[in-house]
Amino acid sequence: MRIVILGCGRVGSALALFMDREGHEVAIVDRDSSAFRRIPPGFKGQTIRGLGIDEAILRSAGIERADCFAALTNGDNTNIMAAQMAKVRFKVPRVVARVYDPIRAGAYHELGIDTLCTTVIGAGLIQDFLLERPWRSIEEYAKLVSLFEQ
């Protein structure tokens, strides 16, 4: 599979590594070239410096032939915009945007954009650990988003 990752922070660099080690073709984009230091040596994928909401940059990362796209910068709106560009403009089959704000994640989920709100998933996991309860499914954690909506 060919995957394009936007944002080489902790999550982006980890995903790039996991995918690379499983033999997938990875291209990772970050506006700051020093972010690529997080990727351990031996990474066979491509690193591209540039803005993720720039079509020319996404093209140079090979988005036109990508099977999946993950938007993982620390900006919710950048992720939302980039994910929509991947889905609508470049017809990438599988697209996800990490969104910190639970309400925004919920709203865009309703609008048909696959969002993963790691805020509520993380908080839910920690809650279960503290209360010594068995883990719930990802769907159940994701549903916690609804607690933020009036």
Binding site: I53, D76, I80
Partner: protein
């Protein structure tokens, strides 16, 4: 009208001032607290601090009641999210977005935000207009980018100079909308003669723009 302006930079500030002057109900949202305070000192209660992308703020300021939302922050991604949320979640009838990267004009339209303004494109078009008299100059795009409005100043060596409208080989998807001659705006008929000094205004589909260019532009501009 109730207008919500998101982004209190220079554009947001002057836009708010102009709208208030015209008697509209306006609310200016600015994310940065220091800047918001500065704006409030100047504009009064019209300006308030808040992130226009936050659902909570949108509800508090009465987004659902707005007639127009203008997203004019310096970040294209923020302007996109503000407009999309306003349109789809709060059913605001008109959402206008400023884009900084002109490439994003097309992207915004594809993502459902149809009213897009790019200062870069506007200035670019004016620059082109200044240097390339005799050329076909794009003025703006309408109908969600499907129709280009173009203008051309007819010069002595233009292929259409001193020709009748019916003798100009226009592409299929093209409408010669007006001839501007001095102070007058003429409605072209088949027998109108095109004169040097005229400005022709035409509507054309993006695919046919180069055909129109062949037909209208002076030889050294093709």
């Amino acid at each position: 009208m109730f207008v919500i302006v998101a982004g209190g930079g220079k554009i947001g500030y002057y836009l708010t001032k102009a709208l208030v002057k015209e008697g509209h109900e306006v609310l200016l949202l600015e994310k940065n607290p220091a800047r918001a305070e500065q704006l409030a000192e100047d504009l009064g209660e019209v300006a308030r601090q808040g992130d226009g992308c936050e659902m909570r703020i949108m509800r508090e300021v009465g987004m659902a009641r707005a007639d127009v939302v203008a997203a004019v922050t310096g970040d294209d991604e923020d302007n996109l999210v503000i407009c999309q949320m306003a349109q789809r979640h709060f059913h605001v009838p008109r959402a206008i977005a400023r884009v900084n990267n002109p490439q994003n004009e097309e992207t915004f339209r594809a993502l459902g935000v149809k009213e897009v303004v790019s200062a870069t494109s506007v200035i670019y078009n004016i620059v082109e207009q200044e240097v390339e008299s005799g050329d076909v100059v794009p003025v703006t795009a309408i109908a969600g980018g499907r129709v280009e409005v173009v203008q051309v100043e007819v010069v002595q060596d233009s292929p259409v100079a001193n020709k009748l409208v019916k003798d100009v080989p226009l592409p299929g998807e093209c409408l010669l909308a007006a001839i501007v001659r001095g102070e007058r705006i003429l409605q072209p008929s088949m027998t109108t003669e095109i004169l040097p000094g005229d400005t022709l205004v035409a509507l054309v589909g993006p695919e046919d723009e180069h055909v129109l260019r062949q037909a209208l532009a002076s030889p050294k501009r093709k």
